[in-house]
């Protein structure tokens, strides 16, 4: 779960990371009122979970009530790379002497925590990583030991921060690491971490990503979850406990297991189609889950056909088949549904479907055949041939020929 800047800052502050006072507001009037409580100058900052806010005009300095009103009106409702700004953070402006970068995350390859600090902060750090990798000091931390002072020193000396900033930066890094671990975060990142003219070190931005798997021991996570930021389809899926990500295509996808679903997306693409979503029903899905999934997918107006691709392990194909039939009985399935069943109880599942034919319910023998059929059917529904779908990568390829 990715947090907004203001949520991240409020969490980091609990662990002793120095941040500026500020208020998160949803309206221009509230922005003006908040600025009045903070003292000018203030900064008006768009709260969106995407980089490049500054360049897009989403961060503005305001020296007066009028300026706050003007900037807040411009920014609220602004679309930044597809993210609509619904909240702005009004923060007391800071004097900046230097801008640094600091983060902690998990290095999967090393199986250790990774701390990174750079004196080149305030910019796109991935670009720095590519163009001048030596400018980023890196230190691995053993998860069983945790941070020791020397880790922080190695980062601060390694990044050649201004000597004035050293002790402040070391303190911030230790707090930041503590937040990383105690919040069960996948990432804590401060960019820029600033040195102020008075020598203090201060977090001017905050990117915090929390591990949903740890939500059970952090009751506070639920309050941070920003439902309104979700795609309405994702919201519907979440309410049904489904792992769903909305995409732009016309073939609705239901599968079991993230890898198989990703592979299904790829195969649909190779067949000249484009997936409307990623939906993983997980392991051991029963009939109810499948019916729910079908309901969410067919509720998407862009969907022209549905591809259900199940390889049973824990999941029993007979239950999946039952769920599909249930879906056809209880909801309005107005698009063709191609079904491929293999693995545990596949024969029973296929027999169940064969015994209960439904209009628009199309069995397929293999994954590739299923993908081809679903793409064809989607194209028919849209009144175009597969090769014409604007979403397809143009690779209608030989896979079409592999159908039953």
């Amino acid at each position: 779960m990715d947090l907004f800047e203001y949520q991240g800052k409020q969490l980091l502050a609990r662990f002793g990371v120095p941040v500026s006072p500020g208020e998160a507001v949803d309206t221009v009037d509230d922005a003006v009122a908040a600025a009045g409580r903070l003292d000018f100058p203030v900064v008006v900052k768009a709260q969106v979970q995407v980089g490049g806010r500054g360049k897009a005009g989403g961060i503005k300095l305001a020296n007066s009530t009028d300026e706050v009103r003007q900037h807040a009106s411009n920014i609220l409702g602004m679309d930044i790379k597809g993210h609509v700004v619904r909240t702005v953070w009004i923060e007391k402006a800071s004097d900046i002497a230097e801008e640094y970068y600091a983060s902690f995350t998990l290095d999967r390859a090393a199986k250790k925590h990774l701390g990174m600090v750079s004196a080149k902060g305030g910019v796109d750090i991935e670009q720095v990583a590519e163009e001048d990798p030596a400018a980023i000091a890196r230190v691995h931390i053993d998860p069983l030991v945790g941070i020791e002072d020397y880790h922080a020193r190695q980062l601060v000396f390694g990044a050649k921060l201004n000597p004035t900033a050293r002790s402040g930066a070391i303190a911030v890094l230790k707090s930041l690491y503590r937040a990383f671990v105690e919040l069960d975060a996948d990432l804590v990142e401060v960019n820029p971490l600033i040195l102020r003219p008075d020598g203090s070190v201060h977090a001017l931005d905050a990117k915090v990503s929390l591990d949903d798997n740890a939500a059970y021991r952090h009751p506070e996570f639920e309050a941070l979850r920003n439902i309104s930021a979700l795609d309405p389809r994702e919201q519907a899926a979440r309410e049904r406990g489904l792992n769903y990500i909305g995409l732009d295509g016309e073939v609705g996808i239901i599968g079991n297991g993230a890898g198989l679903v990703m592979s299904t997306l790829d195969v649909v693409n190779q067949a000249g189609g484009k997936a409307a979503n990623f939906l993983d029903v997980g392991g051991g899905a029963g009939a109810k889950t499948i019916a729910n999934a079908l309901e969410v997918i067919t509720g998407d107006p862009k969907v022209r056909s549905v591809l259900i691709n199940i390889f049973g392990g824990i999941t029993r194909c007979d239950l999946v088949a039952q769920g599909i039939l249930d879906g056809f009985s209880t909801i309005d399935v107005h698009v063709p549904v191609v079904v491929r069943l293999d693995g545990t109880s596949a024969e029973e599942g296929r027999a169940l479907l064969a015994a209960n034919p439904r209009d628009g319910l199309v069995p397929a023998a293999t994954m590739l055949e299923a993908a081809s059929r679903a793409v064809e059917l989607a194209a028919e529904g849209a009144g175009v041939s597969p090769g014409d779908t604007s979403g397809g990568a143009g690779k209608s390829s030989g896979t079409n020929g592999q159908g039953a």
Binding site: L106, R108, A109, K111, K112, H113, E126, A129, E130, D142, P143, L144, V181, D184, D186, D211, N213, A214, Y216, R217, N243, I245, L247, G255, N256, G257, A258, G259, L260, V261, M262, S263, L265, D266, V267, V268, N269, Q270, A275, F278, D280, G282, G283, G284, F311, G312, G313, I314, T315, D342, G343, T344, T366, M367, L368, A393, T399, Q402
Partner: protein, 294 residues
């Protein structure tokens, strides 16, 4: 031969009396796996269809000579179960549980690697592993496999593994061992651990490796294949059309920076001399070609 598990593997099921533990343990036993014990604190002395239940792993290992464990406990107890298994002395730990917090995982994986360098931890969030005809520890459908080799398979994905095994079996290509290492951020066992075991296994003549977007494990494995593997490797990477930066169910599947895209992984694997399939079917086709050529 096989890697990691075989007909001499004796398994304890941690969480045997739970719904999932019971279901899969019995299924594994039916396949022929030596399921010798279960552990559920407070239920010591009872049994599940003749499988004796113990209160602690130490008791189970002492009482039955078990040398492996499989974990089906809920995510919040999974770390505890892994530590208990490792300290009990079993040499193989298969953690099926999904949803384990990454910070817990990072700690127990490091603990097991350091304190018990010879212990193999598979998972968490994995389907387990199967040495066809010998032992099946996990949730993989044993009936889709084909005993006798010559292919060793390792995969980060669950159901995609079944799909790949299915493609091999349908073409009459058997497997020595199929390992689902799981797609979590800090898997106990990685591609390279398995590939190097397959390289050393006389009955394995070729390998299948199935990756997905996120992280850099496939790239690192490619470097290992180029420098250390004499046996051919057929690969597949899922997620070519996955939108960058979005989580695809697996915590691990986040595209990060220039590495991590399916395209970069496929390129690295092809450079390392692997044949890379464009879809699961091609895994079977390519492997059939590879086996003819060696």
């Amino acid at each position: 031969m096989a890697i990691i598990i075989d007909e001499n593997t004796r398994v304890v099921v941690q969480g045997l009396t739970g719904r999932e533990g019971r279901f899969h343990a019995l299924r594994n036993r039916e396949y022929g796996t030596k399921v010798v014990a279960g552990v559920t604190p407070g239920k010591g002395g009872t049994d599940v269809e003749g499988i004796p239940v113990f209160d602690t792993m130490v008791d189970a290992v002492e009482g039955t000579g078990a040398n492996a464990s499989i974990i089906f406990v809920p995510a919040r107890f999974a770390g505890d179960a892994v530590y208990e298994a490792a300290d009990s002395g079993v040499g193989v730990i298969v953690c099926i549980t999904e949803g384990v917090p990454a910070h817990d995982e990072a700690r127990f994986v490091n603990y097991v690697r350091r304190a018990y360098p010879d212990t193999v931890l598979i998972g968490p969030n994995c389907p387990g592993l199967i040495s066809p005809g010998k032992s099946n520890i996990g949730i993989m459908p044993g009936e889709i496999t084909l005993p006798g080799g010559p292919v060793g398979l390792v995969s980060r994905s669950g159901t995609l593994t079944y799909q790949a095994v299915h493609e091999l079996t349908q073409r009459g290509i058997g497997q020595t061992t199929c390992v689902g290492i799981g797609g979590d951020p800090v898997p106990g066992t990685g591609f390279i651990d398995c590939l190097s075991r397959f390289e050393a296994d006389p009955d394995t003549r070729a390998c299948v490796m199935i990756g997905e977007i996120g992280g850099s494990d496939e790239e690192t494995a490619a470097a290992f294949i180029a420098s250390e593997m004499t046996k051919p490797v057929v690969a597949y990477v899922a997620g070519v059309t996955a939108p960058p930066g979005k989580k695809m169910g697996h915590a691990g599947a986040i595209v990060s920076g220039s590495k991590g895209t399916a395209a970069a992984k496929i390129e690295a694997l092809e450079k390392a001399g692997c044949r890379v399939g464009r879809n699961p079917s091609e895994i079977g086709e390519l492997m059939a070609e590879v086996l003819k050529s060696i």
